[in-house]
Symmetry: C2
Subunit: 550 residues, 2 copies
């Protein structure tokens, strides 16, 4: 008998680039295909997509790509994936709209998009898919019930159990209970906040936080959030309306997303409430809210430009109030606080962090994870969406509820899980690592290139050009080129000492060929520079023939 | 009449490298002289010390250097400062012990150290100094009352208002009240936690947190903290004793600090309670606690080595419990969580973040800042120790208590504040920026070097060597050397195209000299590489004469 195989290709062992393959026999579906932003030591990398090498010789088996919601970490790699796979993308209307804009921007045409809806089942190969409504920080998010030949799999998507969300109503608890009644073989559940105690606050608490700020701010309020946080845009617009302010949305992606959401009915407001940035500049500050991006300290986003006073159409005024409506993503704190400091420096008041309730997470905290487990009562648990620490803590928590440790698979990308009606086994590991996108090139930047960049970033390089005559002797002073090492104009003693050392090394020995000279120079120079500076720049030498004197 | 001048040289506009000069007439004192760790874009920098250029022509006026407590951000630059200034260092016994080890490590001799004590006044030039006991995460910390010819200045040091600290008793509220009764001209107060609502939890809450972990852990407990957190070492030892475990301290600096603290009576325990790491490896896990460093994800500290399984004397076992007893310093999150993930991967259980109360901050939160202000009731406030955002929020909070905005100086390093009996003015700005220490060299790394390192770290470099004959024509194929750009062996097409472009550029035009050829090659190659890869490596060219064929 065939086994069901679940292969996570992204999002397990990391936060971002979520992607999962589910296979039975010759049929496969893909769930999500997102991107991830590089960590600070992935130097020069623009972003990262999943490694789908495993699928390369079986793309024709893929019957559908099902997207749980429209955030970048779930749709961001579609532009690259759809160059290789030919299958319909199934998504709810808002998600579909966001996918369409994304594919348009990356220049991909002719992709079949199928609209799906919560509680509307559909069949894909041997899989009966039952999307169900979940709450997250974007509307139209779904989890998936997947009825397979070996049993029912439940995929939570990204979720929180919000009783009072901005739109779409509370999560479909009834559907979860129904799954439970039918018997759930395995639950694949979001672990992002498995280290957060308690219950994630409802989106509703933000309304009060925003109201207080909008009421008390002496001038304009500039609210920054993520471009894809459609619910937050709605909340800001609602709070502006309650406080007699009008809203200008600034920034291409946020404007695009807002338009898509409005067209599809996921964002609603009286048309006169939303104004252009020019109007915002003309109106009295107390009547204005500006909504933009840049909460993670990105220098090119709206807030980053405002902080550096390099924004095309806005600049910070003394009585502005800037609101960071987002949590810091770990790793971004330094850039975020730098932006906060610059905004303060320009005279704005800045509201960030725990001082005011202007942001809540979109992911379930520990008490919600417990409730989901007890609602769904799965035989097996696969913690998904999180770094290893999140997956481990999710597993510990589930064991505390009575799920045996051997029924929980804490695995990272690439581990193949096989299921039949009664068992789960962790099998071989397929590639599941990083594909770096750097500039126009996908995948050619690997660990060795990053290691070189790391070395260069620490101590720079030194290149010495040595003119050597036909007798193997230095013909004129060697020339030095350096970057990132020391400031040569202030270190003439070092330049001269270097020239002396190099000349001595070449003249004091006999070498068989240019390459031997080169190696001797590099080795002597590296040692010399380290002894004088305790730095290890990349050193290389070019041995040239002397030019005739001019 | 003379004015009192306060010149902050470090710690205002940043967290770290605290240093302040107080002058009256020809006399000056220095308070603290600390270091700071580099931010992630200060590539290759080891650490940063204050810029004390302002003092260079008046070091002879400095009558004393007074240290508030023994943390690196208050004593870490003394090794460099004491090479230039000849004045006694005044510190409480534990602080003095830590300063001594520091100076010994940096090879500085013949420094006069004077012991000071809370409530024991001493005179330095025109200043009458009254140290007073404050609570912080290290024993023997003081704040300073400074009676000057124009009025009383109060410097809070780093403090929290802890009613149940580990050692030394609660802060000297009575002294603060006495200052208030005498009338305080200016308060210089710690702002580090000015964005933290409420009241910082007492060190006492950690005891319970540690007890629970030590009681329930199935094997060894490895507690990581800062080497200078003497109070935490005491708490861990106490909790170990209560739970019948013995403690091995691992790591040179922590062992040194513990010895200094024990010798001076600031750390006390029955001698048999503390064991060697070899004993720790022999004893049953349930009887052992290991204390070490590395809570900030530093790869070379104890935890970092354990996470990478490169520790000299320990390795992680399946039933180990690792406790992070420290908050992440902003900017370190990524490395910290990576360490957490690796420790989980090796099979340990890891306790970090908000899941268990195993760490509290050493700095006062917002309600404590308010209490200090109302206890001291200063005429003027100078928020110190914090990034601009902390200083601004501290100022806002003080205004909420009725201190007029014009009586608060939110200034960054280098701004000279002048005081007479009734007024405070913000004067000129003297240098107060970063001095980078990189390897053996202090201060020669500046912004342009860092910018070069940044560019190199993003896209690496490409060096092309072009042999040009006497007729100005390319004599053989140009050679390419690259690092951090692309992996040349997998990009032969790019190598060949590059050689073709370079050859064409040189052969198709007539150049007056080598330098013109070089410039033309660099310009054409940069454009070509960007068009093909969307990357901008550092490009340079070496024009050589052809070698005779071998």
């Amino acid at each position: 008998m065939n086994k069901l195989r679940i292969i996570p290709l992204g999002g397990l062992g990391e936060v971002g680039k979520n992607m999962m393959v589910i296979e039975y026999g010759q049929d496969a579906i893909i769930i999500d295909s997102g991107l991830m932003f590089p960590e600070s030591d992935m130097l020069g990398v623009d972003f990262i997509i999943p490694d789908w090498q495993y699928l390369r010789d079986k793309f024709d088996r893929v019957q559908a790509i099902i997207i749980t919601h429209g955030h970048e970490d779930h749709i961001g790699a579609l532009g690259h994936l759809m160059k290789e796979v030919n299958a319909p993308i199934c998504a709810t209307p808002l998600t579909q709209g966001l996918v369409e804009s994304k594919l348009r921007r990356t220049g991909i045409g002719r992709v079949e998009l199928r609209t799906i809806s919560p509680r509307e089942e559909f069949q894909v190969g041997p899989f009966r898919i039952e999307p169900f409504h979940v709450c997250h920080s974007i509307p139209d998010a779904v989890g998936l019930g997947i009825e397979t030949p070996v049993g029912l799999i439940v995929h939570s998507g990204d979720y929180k159990l919000d009783h009072t969300p901005v739109a779409g109503g509370p999560p479909d608890f009834a559907k979860l209970a129904e799954f439970s009644a039918r018997g759930v073989l395995a639950l694949l559940a979001d672990s992002t906040n498995a280290d957060k105690p308690g219950w994630t606050a409802s989106e509703a608490v933000i309304d009060e936080g925003l109201d207080k700020v909008f009421r008390e701010a002496p001038g304009r309020v500039i609210v920054a959030s993520f471009a894809s946080l459609i619910s937050r845009i709605q909340q800001v617009i609602n709070a502006a309306q309650r406080n007699r302010r009008r809203v200008a949305i600034v920034g291409r992606t946020m404007v695009d997303n807002a338009k898509t959401a409005q067209r599809l009915g996921y964002l609603s407001f009286p048309q006169e409430l939303v104004i252009t940035v020019n109007d915002a500049n003309r109106l009295p500050g107390q009547e204005v809210v500006v909504m933009t991006t840049g909460t993670q300290g990105e220098p090119l986003a709206g807030l980053g430009r405002l902080a550096a006073d390099r924004h095309r159409s806005l600049s910070i005024r003394k009585d502005d109030t800037v609101v960071f409506s987002a949590h810091p993503i770990p790793g971004n704190e330094e850039m975020i606080y730098r932006t906060v400091n610059y905004l303060f420096q320009r005279g704005a008041n800045v509201i960030y962090g725990p001082i005011a309730p202007v942001h809540v997470s979109g992911h379930a905290s520990r008490e919600e994870l417990k409730l989901l487990l007890n609602l769904v009562r799965p035989k097996f648990l696969v913690p998904i969406h999180g770094e290893l620490r999140h997956l481990k803590l999710h597993s510990q928590l589930a064991q505390g509820l009575g799920i045996p440790a051997e029924n929980i698979a804490v695995v990272e990308n690439g581990h193949v899980l096989s299921f039949d009606e009664n068992s789960m086994t962790i099998g071989e590991r397929v590639p599941g690592s990083y594909i770096y996108v750097d500039g126009a090139v996908v995948g050619d930047v690997g660990p060795s290139i990053l290691r070189d960049r790391e070395i260069l970033s620490r101590d720079g390089f030194v290149c010495v050009t040595v003119p050597v005559d036909d007798h193997g002797r230095v013909a004129s002073r060697p020339e030095l080129i350096t970057r990132g090492f020391v400031f040569l104009r202030e270190a003439q003693w070092l330049v001269q000492a270097t020239q002396d050392i190099v000349t001595q090394v070449v003249n004091d020995a006999t070498f068989a060929n240019r390459d031997e000279i080169r190696q001797a120079v590099v080795s002597a120079l590296s040692k010399f520079l380290y002894s004088k500076t305790r730095r290890r720049p990349v050193v290389f030498a070019v041995i040239t023939r002397p030019f005739p004197s001019p």
